[in-house]
Amino acid sequence: MDIDISPLIENWQFILTGLGFTLALSALSIALGAAIGLVGGVLRTYGGKLLDSAIGLYVDVVRSIPVLAILVWTYFAFPLVIGESLTPFSGGVLALGVHLGAYITETIRAGLTSIRPGQMRAALALGMSRFEAIRTIILPQALIRMLPPLGSLIVIAVKDSAIASVIAVPELLRQSQVLAGKTFRPFEIYTAAMLIYFLICYPTARTIDRVYRRLGVLGAS
């Protein structure tokens, strides 16, 4: 078997564009997911029964549907509901963010409920409001405690961004498909794409592990 990496070298800008989209898509869906997860997790824990069940329903529904189904629904079906079309990229961010948000919501809720009630009492006893207590005392500890699962979710978000290729977001996998079809060198191109994903995901996972080993003790009340 002969290996020919010239298609990679000749089309490096094309691949770089894909990488750019992958990073942007991941970053924005993580940002959206984190925003949803923070609000959802806090409201589910401290917002009373009604909010708890409403947010719980969102979480459970999203957790039982494949990302692929959420992506195609958001991109193809949702525009018919709102009467407004979406670009593949914004559809991708929306779908991946809403999907990730459910998992982050659950993770943050688990973190918040794991902090023992005495911490809230101590904060209230100082005269803090519940909101201040959650923001300055409970949430930081919960986030530190939940760093490992949150880190896995970040890695999963990067990997899931590749599924947005099915709605033609020009991210790394999509660009690779186009290139592989054009050059007939699937081995070189898909292998290169695989390596690029690995070089993003693996160090990210390790870095989060390392940070947690340093910070972990600060979340242990």
Partner: protein, 279 residues
Amino acid sequence: MIAKRKTKSRPRIGSGTAPILSFEGVVKRYGPLEALAGVSFQVHRGEVVCLIGPSGSGKSTLLRCANALETIDGGRVVLEGVEVHDRRTDARKLRRRMGMVFQNFELFPHLTVLRNVAVGPTTVLGMPQRQAAERATELLRKVGLADKAAHYPASLSGGQQQRVAIARALAMQPDVMLFDEPTSALDPETIGEVLSVMKRLADEGMTMVVVTHEMDFAKRVGNWIVVFDHGKVVEQGPPQQVFDEPTVQRTRDFLSHLGWHGESLAAADLLVQPSSTDP
């Protein structure tokens, strides 16, 4: 060697004047359980009131009712004319005036010792960081932990953590300090350092409500002893009366259960470690 030390209990302070904190028939229910079944006693300015009694008798619940961490189902708690559980009362304003120290310290593990002490003034009073840090440093010096300011709580011993917790409560410059078994979670060798900080506070005139099993502390530092059992006050009075001539069988049972036989326990020696401010 049993050192018999003659202890003089302090007189009750300001018994004629209006109390700073008073409990009037306080009732608290958890479902069918009546954790507090009509508790009444008073705390005057500068006094140390010690709450004793078997575990589960409602002492912690009472402290939590004092600063509105719990609602109540009957009676009232009054802090200098302000009814604590009144709907119009701002519970947060009120809690600033009462410092609380917990059995498990409840330091904030993600903040340094200094920030633990400063976080109340900065978030609650909106005090600038610098000023709060100065106040915190001063208080840490007072509890003998100035050198630990940059450490995180996890690296401190239990006794040190509890002293930080006391400094944290003092940072809000409260009128009353509430202590819930501050030494129960400590190794025996660190109990003394916490008790002597508390004694110094008492000597400086701080008003204190202390739930404790340290009978020697109660007898030596307390001005007024309140004995709890099953959510009720079964006896209250000055220390020499409650400890030496208890009028109620319940009190006698409780004291003998603790191994108290009228005079000093071995733990007494922990308390009287001469500290520089001791008179």
